[in-house]
Amino acid sequence: MSRVLLSGNAAIAWGARLAGVDYVPAFPITPQTEIIETLAGWIGSNELDARTVMFESEHSMLTAAGAAASTGVRVFTATSSQGLLYAMEMLYSVAGWRAPFVLVNVSRAVAAPVTLHSDHGDVLAARDSGFLQLHAATCQEALDLVLLGYRTAEHPDVRLPALVNLDGFLLSFTREPVELPDPELARRFVGAFEPGASAFRASRPVSQAVAVLGGGPYSYFRYEMHRASEHAGTVFADAAIELEAATGRANDAVECYRSDDAEVVFFLIGSLSTTAKDAVDRLRESGTRAGLVRPRLLRPFPTAALRSALHGRRAVAVVDQDLSIGSGGVLHAELAGALHGQAGAPLLASFIGGLGGRRVGVDELCSISGEALEAASAGRPPAPRLLYTEAELREVRKLQAIAHEERHR
């Protein structure tokens, strides 16, 4: 095991390399490009025995990824934002093909308006596709989740593709110390890809992704996928224990930080959890029992683990880095669903933050934890609130006014 300074993108590329991928279909989009370029560099210098092919779109890239995985090679690919949305039709298709591979999404807010910065609007749009969904909070985790992604996706009782998410810019281009597992250990951990009897071979004709007539067979196949996804929770948990035994790094489906005795808990995903841990520490110093509960695994949704982690807490400040237009925060709705009807469930307060790379700071988190606690005391959940300051609004208005004046001078 060696310790090196790596960007999130480089850590992901190392994950793919250590998993021994065979095939990397690709299409460029910021901030994902560096991953593919890194892999292409290794392929060019024969450090990685794989093939990369440039496609003309993410739609095609995902089609090829699914087709190649169905034929029996280990596939890796990556995208962001508009690319993920462009490929969305095929996300649903290849998951239905039960093609196991890893797709990394370096999350970036979706147009319009167009931006390069991160939020989770892209990746959460894929949450019902049948892909398993894993969210990294650090560069180290980005690497580990790629290895865990292959282990889980390829398991004979799962056979669903896995999507590993890391936050654009915040992780993709931030360099952190990362422990690289010993290549032998990584190989043994991920294991060889056994495509099973459904791979295309001359000696063994198979039909894949055929049409069905009517709701009977359709429901059958969709429900099979659902059960496979649920089963992936167990497979992931077992694999995480094994990885922890080998490396000392825990990757449970739900991370709990100082939450056991907490009265108020932050519930959020991705790299913002690092900031949230600082806020927890700060709140604890000032006497507030705060904690963090953060799912790494979003599909399958770790309902049981979340229920038990949040049982007996007074309030939860849910911070969504996404906005379901006309509804609100996606995580908030998911958590509310999971806790519905549970005795001793905490009050949920919904905050929308971090849209398009808008920073959420420690101070802001500390203040919303207070709001969540107050609401719990009042026994009434507050209306969902966008984290946005008067100063930010004034800044936007000021620029609009300047542009208006320029135009009409």
């Binding site: 065979d22 095939y23 279909p25 025995d49 093939r51 092919v53 440039m54 496609f55 003309e56 779109s57 739609h59 095609s60 890239m61 089609t63 090829a64 990824a65 699914g66 087709a67 190649a68 995985a69 169905s70 034929t71 029996g72 090679v73 039709e89 095929m90 298709s93 093909w97 295309f200 071979r201 001359a202 000696s203 004709p205 198979v206 039909s207 894949q208 992704a209 055929v210 049409a211 069905v212 007539l213 067979p217």
Partner: protein, 308 residues
């Protein structure tokens, strides 16, 4: 003698294989010219194939848990069948190169697509597969519309034809997109037009394509009884008329040249083909649309003059 120099096995009707590789009883329409072309092609290509299909009529060939195929099948999506073919091809190459499967487990990769997908939504995926020199056979059955959804006009609909979306007195105002020329302009390994009604010509072209490597187009005109408006029993007859009037010249592109593989001289007037189909009935009734008929004939004459 190498495989590629082997003389053709198919000189007469009696030479054609009749192994019935493709099972019967599928849910496609009686008299489907696309299925006819595919059936003949499959006989020559054989079962060591994986057919990657784009959404269209043929997507219903395999319906769970039944399949008419002796070989393999993958339904992909409307826009990206060539990319699916790329994924399978690359994976087989990798598996063989890494000795994870023996070379005799290899398969011919075939895209099966309608004209709508081929000339519209799937065009960029097709063009990119040609750019990458993908080793595959691309069979487009051209029923000149979006057949599966009820014969709306596609970019491949001929000028003047009535479709579900062009119901006016002049039919489809556009001009049929020349998919063959689009392919040829990109210098594929091989390209040919075929039709079920000319099975010997078809078999020879498939045989030739099978021996080659790289992107290979087989473009079949597919008379479509419900979409074009004729009796299913006349499907072959309509196909013959398409060839004999010059509406569907039988072409072949290889080594930088386009040649005609079969001549019928003198050509029949185009009207003989048009008058047999309901989609062109408005050109004859209540009165003859001389202008449109002349324009269609002229376009055919010019196209025929361009190839020898």
């Amino acid at each position: 003698m190498s495989d590629a120099d082997e003389p053709t096995r198919y000189r007469r009707m009696q030479d054609l294989p009749s192994t019935h590789l493709l099972g019967s009883g599928t849910s496609l329409c009686a008299g489907c010219g696309g299925l006819g072309a595919f059936r003949e092609l499959y006989e020559v290509l054989g079962e060591r194939t994986v057919v990657v299909n784009a959404a269209g009529c043929m997507s219903l060939l395999a319906t769970h848990p039944f399949t008419p195929f002796r070989g393999s099948w993958l339904y992909s999506a409307m826009a990206s069948a060539p990319a699916g073919a790329q994924g399978v091809r690359d994976a087989l190459d990798i598996l063989i190169a890494k000795r994870r499967i023996p070379a005799d487990e290899d398969l011919d990769v075939v895209v099966l697509t309608g004209d709508g997908a081929a000339s519209g939504m799937g065009l960029s995926a097709t063009s990119a597969a040609i750019d990458r020199g993908l080793d595959f056979i691309y069979l487009c059955y051209d029923n000149e519309g979006y057949g599966n959804t009820g014969q709306q006009s596609s970019a491949s609909t001929p000028h003047g034809a009535r479709t579900a979306t062009d119901r006016g007195p002049r039919g489809y105002p556009g001009v049929k997109k020349d998919l063959f020329a689009l392919w040829v302009a990109n210098r594929p390994a091989y390209a040919a037009t075929i039709i079920a009604a000319e099975p010997v010509d078809l078999a020879r072209k498939v045989e030739k394509a099978k021996r080659m490597k790289g992107p290979r187009l087989l473009l079949a005109l597919a008379p479509c009884p419900p979409g074009w408006g004729f009796d299913p029993k006349d499907s072959i007859e309509i196909g013959r008329l398409a060839v004999r009037t010059g509406v569907w010249p039988l072409l072949e592109y290889a080594d930088g040249r386009v040649v005609r593989t079969k001549h019928y001289e003198p050509r029949l007037p185009v009207e003989r083909y048009l008058e047999r189909q309901r989609r062109f009935a408005h050109l004859f009734e209540p009165r003859r649309d001389e202008q449109t008929l002349a324009a269609i004939q002229t376009a055919v004459d010019e196209a025929c003059a361009r190839v020898t």
